[in-house]
Symmetry: C2
Subunit: 259 residues, 2 copies
């Protein structure tokens, strides 16, 4: 453990709207000397860190605008100067992204780390749809999986379908056709499916459809990244939705709507 | 849609510490007329709702102190009187619990609902262990599943193991022996496993071990509900942990520690 007072806070920025940050996250930002900002986080988050030097280190799925090694080097360098570095990651820091590598780097350097949890976009998507991810009538759990093969390899879609859990698929828009086809080998064509783009953000868009029409409907409606794809019978509960906060579809016809 | 101004906020209380609430949740509590309090939520949360009438409607896994139907009736009754009802649920409201039934009831009654997401204990447990739930070296996702059979039926442990995702098992302490045995039929004995009791709370306790010793070690160390059981190679990253915020074990020997 190094002796200076430097440390890193691995901070979950949540899905978009700043009031979805935890109170703890807001306090950490207010105390930050340096903010390393992920480009999936709401850029307005820097207004909560008025005294901090802000460095944008975005890294969109596929196109690497900032190499991971460089981000880790920055965290080490500033923390070893005795500064409080807040590494802001979109959504929940411990779900996808590279928190594992960043934690290992900081541990190896003996730099204290605090982790501040946040709201992952899959939960914000479910809130937008007005559904539980695990309605007990339909399933006994939910699986969060990434289709970003560079990072995690292609998931075993048949094995995932066999769990009968709700599937929350991250970074899947660029292979929505192939993953839907793979799942259709194991799941009924009419399995409810949804796409929520910018979940939890001011510009949230939702699409409700069924597995066999998922890719075509998402393409027709112009849905793109960042978005969460939700598949499973629990998603069907949203089909009944008809209330103020959560516009939604009726019957099983596809229907896109802004938040 | 009814015409009075009553509404229900389905509010996620998070895993324990009040500063893990979102800013949006704190605002909703401050504006509440009635608070229906889950017994898995930190009771101190009522200090954030000074003007609200507080009704405790706890319902621990297994022993039903308050019937679900009665809770739903209370929500409807107060909202239909024009009041702002905040239904406080421990952790993330859309993960397990009965949010699905409560949302359906409120929709049927035409009562507007706002859902406020929160931190589920599985994420707080990972923060306590200092790990990503989805380290890309080990897996491409995480599955949240309940072992509370009354609610969701016994999960298909073989199918879950086959996904090679990290498993975050809720409400599993009373059948930790049988679920560990079931998973040992599909996963190596040395698969890293952890138990985190009161994750994210002031009295958080963590146990790090391996799948074949999970049940015995948890029993010996006196771990009980509420706790999250984490199983998978990504959990093994915590074995290396040796830093200020997150005491942990070394090697693969079991080791329990308070937060």
């Amino acid at each position: 453990m190094n002796t200076n007072s430097g440390k890193v806070t691995l901070l979950s920025a949540g899905p978009g709207e700043l009031d979805l940050l935890t109170v703890r996250a807001a306090k950490a930002l207010a105390a930050a000397d340096v903010v390393l900002l992920d480009d999936l986080a709401n850029p307005e988050i820097v207004t909560l860190a008025p005294q901090a030097r802000v460095i944008r280190v975005g890294k969109r799925g596929g196109c690497r605008s900032t190499p991971q090694a460089f981000i880790e080097r920055l965290m080490r360098r500033y923390a070893q100067k005795g500064l409080h570095v807040v590494r802001v990651k979109g959504g929940e820091a411990l779900l996808f992204g590279r928190a594992g590598e960043e934690l290992a780097t900081l541990r190896d350097a003996g730099i204290p780390v605090e982790i501040v949890n946040g709201i992952s976009s899959g939960f914000a998507a479910a809130a937008g749809l007005g559904i539980s991810l695990t309605h007990r009538r339909h399933c006994h759990g939910v699986t969060f999986v990434t289709a970003h093969t560079e990072d995690h390899g292609e998931p075993d879609w048949a094995a995932l379908a066999a769990t009968r859990t709700t599937l929350a698929i991250y970074m899947g828009m660029r292979r929505i056709g192939s993953l839907a086809s793979a799942l259709l080998a194991s799941l009924p064509a009419e399995t409810p499916a949804a796409v929520v783009q910018w979940a939890g953000g001011a510009n949230e868009r939702r699409l409700l459809t069924r597995l066999d029409r998922l890719a075509a409907d998402a393409t027709d409606a112009g849905f793109g990244s960042p978005a969460v794809i939700l598949i499973g019978n629990a998603i069907g509960e949203s089909m009944e939705t008809d209330w103020a906060q959560h516009a939604s579809s009726h019957g099983d016809a596809a229907h896109a709507c802004a938040a």
